[in-house]
């Protein structure tokens, strides 16, 4: 998390632009790391058949026991608010994708990642690694037990804090259905101030990144629940 030598003076968050739909603005100036990393040349269009190739399929061998329960990977229980996160992985035709590998990683309840690069002066939790995996079932369903991650500072701009989120990585049926994204929690006061969240400039599409509090799936005396469905795109964005 290095600070660029040349401070960015522009707005951290750009105004909404519903015309972009679910596309992210990859050269989003308020997210400073995009400056030297987002491609500048126009993307080249591939022949149609190269959008339709099958992708990798992962089986049970990709999983270890307790991979989908991030609260039971150590001798003791992690600190924080225990939650269930569940939902479905769907194609953009609305049909469930079964056997999809879903990988997650996140900060602990204090907003600290178990990673050498993270120097946020918040405590690590010896009972929390913050990583999980699962495969979707025949109805496209995935489920994780974890703890609610904390917000954390990230030096992108003055007093920059990321809203609490869980990173998700998903493989669909097609190679091109690959998606890496972040799931957020409803009502986070940091939403209007976060350039990563707002790099999706269509507000309706942005809402698709926010989980729904799910009282029906909440386990009494145990854990709150959140529901979040993911739709994988099968066709390319316009170059």
């Amino acid at each position: 998390m290095t600070i660029a030598a040349d401070p960015y003076e522009g707005p951290v968050v750009l105004p909404d632009d519903p015309s972009l739909g679910p596309e992210v603005q990859v050269d989003y100036p308020g997210y400073r790391s995009t400056r030297w990393r987002a491609p500048k040349d126009p993307l080249v269009t591939l022949p149609e058949e190269l959008h339709r190739i099958d992708g990798p399929v992962f089986g049970e061998s990709a999983l270890a026991p307790l991979d989908n329960d991030l609260t039971r990977q150590h001798d003791g229980e992690p600190l924080g608010e225990r939650i269930l996160v569940h939902g479905r992985v769907l194609g953009d035709d609305g049909k469930p994708i079964r056997g999809a590998l879903v990988e997650v990683w996140q900060a602990n309840a204090a907003g600290r990642y178990r990673h050498d690069v993270d120097v946020h002066p918040a405590p690590l939790d010896p009972n929390f690694s913050g990583a999980g995996r699962c495969l979707t079932d025949d109805e496209g369903r995935y489920s994780f037990t974890t703890i609610k991650p904390g917000a954390y500072p990230w030096r992108n701009h003055d007093n920059a804090w990321r809203p609490a989120h869980i990173h998700f990585s998903l493989f669909g049926r097609l190679f091109t259905e690959r998606l890496v994204t972040q799931m957020y929690f409803p009502g986070d006061p940091l939403f209007p101030h976060d350039p990563i969240f707002n790099s999706v400039r269509d507000p309706r599409s942005r809402e698709l990144l926010v989980a729904r509090f799910d009282l029906a799936k909440t386990e009494p005396e145990w854990a709150l629940a959140y529901e979040w469905d993911v739709v994988l795109r099968s066709t390319p964005f316009e170059p």
């Binding site: 990393r37 491609p39 190269l50 190679f175 890496v180 972040q182 739709v231």
Partner: protein, 146 residues
């Protein structure tokens, strides 16, 4: 049509979730394919991930980059082309490119200027394949709409 879920960056801490086990051998008996991931100032991207897919034989691999931006795979010697995705902090969506293991004639390469098509072809160095990925600049790698 359901609206697709938007992409968000993989961020700097992806290794927690994506690099828990070595996944860089598409073919354990293959040839080494090594390279660097570089930003628009020629600086290494030390927090990137490259994923490769050899669609013919259905071989997949993933390599995080080190502090010098280096990635490394073992790939089948006789593969023609590998599909590639690049993820990194600062990339709000992953980018798609192709790695040709040797010069080739196909529709994709034919549509590119010679200097641009050269960015997609690996070269041999000390008995292994080399391929650098440049996100920006005069020698920027060709990225494809996806």
């Amino acid at each position: 049509m359901s609206t697709p879920t938007p992409s968000q960056t993989v961020g700097p801490y992806y290794a927690i979730g994506l690099c828990r086990r070595p996944d860089d051998e598409l073919d354990p008996d293959g040839i080494e394919l090594a390279g660097r991931l570089l930003d628009g100032q020629g600086e290494p991207i030390g927090d990137g991930v490259v994923e490769l897919w050899e669609a013919e034989r259905r071989l997949w691999g993933r390599s995080g980059t080190d502090a010098e931006g280096r990635f490394r795979f073992l790939v089948p010697r006789d593969a023609a082309v590998l599909e590639a995705f690049v993820f990194a902090r600062g990339l709000l969506r992953h980018q798609r490119t192709r790695i040709y293991l040797r010069e080739a004639e196909d529709e994709v390469l034919a549509g590119l200027e010679p200097a641009r098509r050269a960015t997609l072809v690996a070269w041999t160095e000390d008995g292994r394949l080399r391929f650098d990925i440049r996100m920006q600049g005069d020698r920027a790698t060709v990225f494809f709409a996806h």
